[in-house]
Symmetry: C2
Subunit: 258 residues, 2 copies
């Protein structure tokens, strides 16, 4: 961990005085809170929507930060989405649906931020998070697993209340499925017209495929992630999975919400 | 169509003098090109990354534009992604993979912009486009089908070159799958911490499910879209699909690249 981490008292909304991403990637202190942040704000440099402890420089100026269009980084990727959402979306009114999506996105973001991950993509009832960029995390596999457990814990209470309100004609009970995988990913800008960074590569796709196989309440963790954070895998059970687009069956471990 | 459309000569990079989104949604002329755009740029109002004919006000200030957190809009949703990408991503080097993703995203964006759609989400080798918000389009179903055909046309030449370079050990030949569906969607901001708008709802999920069933070179168009643009459906064949999370089989029409 870096010296900058001394400046945070972890909580859902972030409290770092300087951008942890710019510090970890460039050792440049960019003020994001307090009076020193004011002149930066006047130039449009504010806290990022991906994580309140990073700034819009690391969010939107990847090439400036890394001096390259993309870099290879060892990272842990987390995907989460709401199981039963498609069926529900045909049956409840749009205002309720919007509230459900907002609640899910907010609860997940707080869980991810609490472990220094960033919410890189939100897609309706789903999201993708990156652990170890731009905030460096020594144990990024462990951080992602803790965030996944946190997502399940925070969402269960909220969704159980909603499930109690919906009768069974709305389809199966709502829950959250999570997939986590660790590997080398390519991080950078992958189109000439967008400037916010993202991650691509086989490891990203494997994390997405794991998530698509996770039932409500389950976290599917790849063997690669589990091997890096064995102490976070208490109670996990092995499962062999056939994943779309991946030739060999994949061995993964299942954590079920307690 | 609105008076503002007189100001565009359609091309991939956009050429409207004022933001077509702010004009169509609020009848407010926001200069985005030419000398009148300079003072706006000084205040951070620039062309949006979602479409070069709209501005960052309609991209990021949905609540200011619509005076609500979300609105119900009849729209056509298009999803596209690269078939064979997951398998390929395990086998080629990250630089080549990045070039492929950038090329795909750029070609798709040009096709979507040429028909007044917006690139709302990019997710690795996939994207989601919205037709009829914030730029209003009388025949949004037809515009989306034309964009889908354009995507197939533009990507085919590029991917065929790449396929010729890759031997068959890299897996099946690369191609693009597209899904298109028209219906009422909820457009707005769906988390308290992000300010760019998106679309959610059953119609969005159906478009995504259709895309997931499209083979390389195919465009799967829902019956709802086809019924609104019958003259764009020449050569289409019916197909009955079982889609994940949707109780009844869905009747769709398949357009195959010519």
């Amino acid at each position: 961990m870096t010296a900058a981490s001394d400046l945070i008292q972890p909580n859902g909304q972030g409290s770092a005085k300087i951008c942890l991403g710019c510090w970890d990637q460039m050792h440049v202190p960019i003020p994001i809170r307090g009076p020193l942040a004011l002149p930066f704000r006047a130039f449009g440099i504010t806290r990022s929507k991906m994580n309140p402890n990073i700034c819009t420089i690391c969010e939107r100026s990847f090439r400036y930060v890394k001096k390259k269009r993309h870099v290879t980084v060892s990272a842990t990727i987390l995907f989460a989405d709401i199981r039963g959402f498609t069926r529900l979306s045909e049956r409840i009114d749009p205002v309720k649906l919007s509230e459900l999506v907002s609640m899910f996105q907010d609860l997940c973001a707080q869980a991810i931020w609490a472990h220094d991950g960033i919410v890189n993509k939100q897609m309706g009832d789903g999201l993708m998070a990156i652990f170890n960029f731009p905030i460096k995390i020594g144990d990024h596999a462990g951080a992602a697993i803790m965030a996944a457990r946190d997502i399940q814990r925070r969402c269960t209470a909220a969704l159980d209340r909603l499930n109690a309100d919906l009768d069974s004609s709305h389809g199966p009970a709502l829950g959250v499925g999570v997939g986590v995988h660790t590997g080398d990913v390519e991080i950078g800008e992958f189109s000439t017209f967008r400037s916010d960074f993202t991650a691509i590569g086989g490891a990203v796709n494997l994390a997405a495929r794991l998530e698509s196989k996770a039932a409500a309440g389950e976290i599917l963790v790849s063997d690669a992630t589990a091997a890096q954070a064995p102490d976070r895998m208490t109670g996990a059970e092995p499962r062999l999975l056939a994943l779309k687009g991946i030739a060999q069956p994949v061995q993964a471990r299942v954590l079920i919400k307690s």
